[in-house]
């Protein structure tokens, strides 16, 4: 064991002072496969957006296969209140797009508690108009609509390596399923193993 871990620690009475400097909260989306929508992954703290992308790649990009990451400041999010049942698309208004206006990315949430998923993009002069258009176009069967100015989103490069391409089954449950099953079958009755694996989380094993 390393010396550091074995030694006796002595500390000053007080903790060192609070760290100075400013951190911001960023929202992270991951794309599992090129051409599929970006999905809400989580959020994190970082001092600036470049480091936010780095952290996002190291953390959320390593949880599962990942081909692209989007990151933006929490403050850059504009959203409708989360509806109890469903949003009424008629509460929004859609007067068409003008190419001269900036692009907004739309994310929607299907049910309360679900993650937000990229649903489309539109042109609008400001956040309120963008949100209203997004509600009219994408609000159907959703509980919440969010818009973010595309320029506020930092993305990884197309083709950038995030999820490593070498065999990573050692960090996935399914990398063990077969050998575990074979070892159990050698010592237990099939019904007992079936009963025991009932508590496994179906689609993750």
């Amino acid at each position: 064991m390393s010396k550091i871990r074995q030694r006796d620690f002595t500390f000053a009475e007080e903790l060192p002072p609070h760290a100075d400097g400013v951190m911001h909260a960023y929202i992270v989306y991951t794309c599992r496969k090129d051409g599929t929508p970006h999905r809400y992954a989580g959020y994190l703290d970082a001092p600036d957006i470049d480091l936010a992308v780095e952290y996002a790649c190291e953390h959320y990009g390593q949880d599962e296969a990942c081909t692209g990451i989007w990151v933006h400041l929490v403050e850059h999010l504009h959203e409708t209140p989360c509806a109890q049942e469903h949003i009424d698309p008629a509460t929004g208004s859609d007067d068409g797009d003008s190419d001269s206006e900036p692009i907004w990315i739309v994310f929607t949430q299907k049910r309360r508690g679900d993650i937000h998923i990229e649903t489309g993009a539109l042109h609008a002069a400001d956040a309120a108009t963008a949100l209203s258009k997004a509600v009219a176009r994408h609000g159907e069967s959703t509980v919440q609509v969010r818009v973010v100015l595309r320029d506020h989103i930092e993305a990884t490069e197309p083709g950038q390596l995030i999820w490593r391409t070498h065999d990573q089954t050692y960090r996935l449950a399914r990398g063990y399923s077969k050998s575990v099953r074979a070892k159990w079958d050698a010592v237990r009755k099939v019904e007992d193993v079936d009963e025991y694996t009932k508590e496994d989380i179906e689609h993750h094993f």
């Binding site: 064991m1 390393s2 550091i4 871990r5 620690f9 500390f11 903790l15 060192p16 609070h18 760290a19 100075d20 400097g21 400013v22 951190m23 909260a25 809400y40 992954a41 989580g42 959020y43 994190l44 703290d45 001092p47 480091l51 953390h59 390593q62 949880d63 599962e64 209140p81 989360c82 109890q84 309360r112 508690g113 993650i115 050692y170 960090r171 996935l172 449950a173 990398g175 063990y176 399923s177 050998s179 575990v180 070892k183 159990w184 050698a186 010592v187 237990r188 007992d192 025991y196 508590e199 496994d200 989380i201 993750h204 094993f205």
Partner: protein
Amino acid sequence: MSGAANPVMTIDPSEEDQDKLAEFESRIADGVLIEPGDWMPQAYRMGMLRMAEHHANSEIVGALPEGEWITRAPSLRRKLALTAKVQDEVGHGQMLYRVSQDLGKSREDMLRDLCTGKTKYHNCFNYPAPSWADIAMVQWLIDGAAIMNQKTLADGAYGPYVRTMHRINMEEAFHFKSGEDMVLTLMSGTKKQKAMTQEAFDRWWGPSVMFFGPHDKPNCENLPPMKWRMKTESNDSLRQRFVNRFAPAALDLGLVIHVCQKDEHGMVTSKTVDEQCRLDETTGNWGVTDPDWDEFFRVIRGNGPCNAHRVALRRFSYEQGAWVRRAIAGGATTLPPAA
């Protein structure tokens, strides 16, 4: 969850806005998820904060004993897996601190309160892991218990916490499966490996049975933590499901379930076979000797085998890392402290 009285139990609900409270409760009863922008009782906000913070603390402290074994893993694949597992756990801490921050406490304050002992982490991480078989046992029993618990928490009412649980559980599945693989490998190995695994099992079975916390208060379904779906299954019911699943599995593997006496370092000094641990044909439930709850509360109060060491190592890391955090956050740069 374990620990001292959760604020959710101590804040007087009559101080809340009664109309809003009634609406909040009826929404929860309807299975509607609560989002951060929604109105929520102060006791709920404090209770969720405490729960998420305790959970976050547990993730990063739990990674400490496992991190010590990375350099000593028995094969390259096991080393890669353990490294990934430790990274996952610290990532869980990151996500849960982030959820807690939105409920009103800064990350810096949470990290500091953990170092000074003001806040706690899960009791089971105060026990020693002196052999590789302990690492296998932790991943099989403790991550197994954590999955059972977190699956029910993913069915809770607070949106951000629920989403985090779903993401965490995906990784817990890997932790558990690789732990199971390690235990199975050891138990189909040499005499020496089997003996080492039995010893580790003796050290971890007790803490695993205590994992879900003390016996429930009567009427727990109607008290705030369950009524507000901060948790969705009682401690005793989770414990019973755990024992039903793991006791027969351990016996089939050739392990013996013991009731153990331990010294102050958490090492077993004497043991007897747990006679209670058998299937009750009428109920279909497995029995288990009730754990020593005095020990449970002694460990919570800070007097477990490894409490001092875990907190010291966490504080050491916090202090050693301060200059990095300052540099990253654009504060005054300094040299690293002497190790």
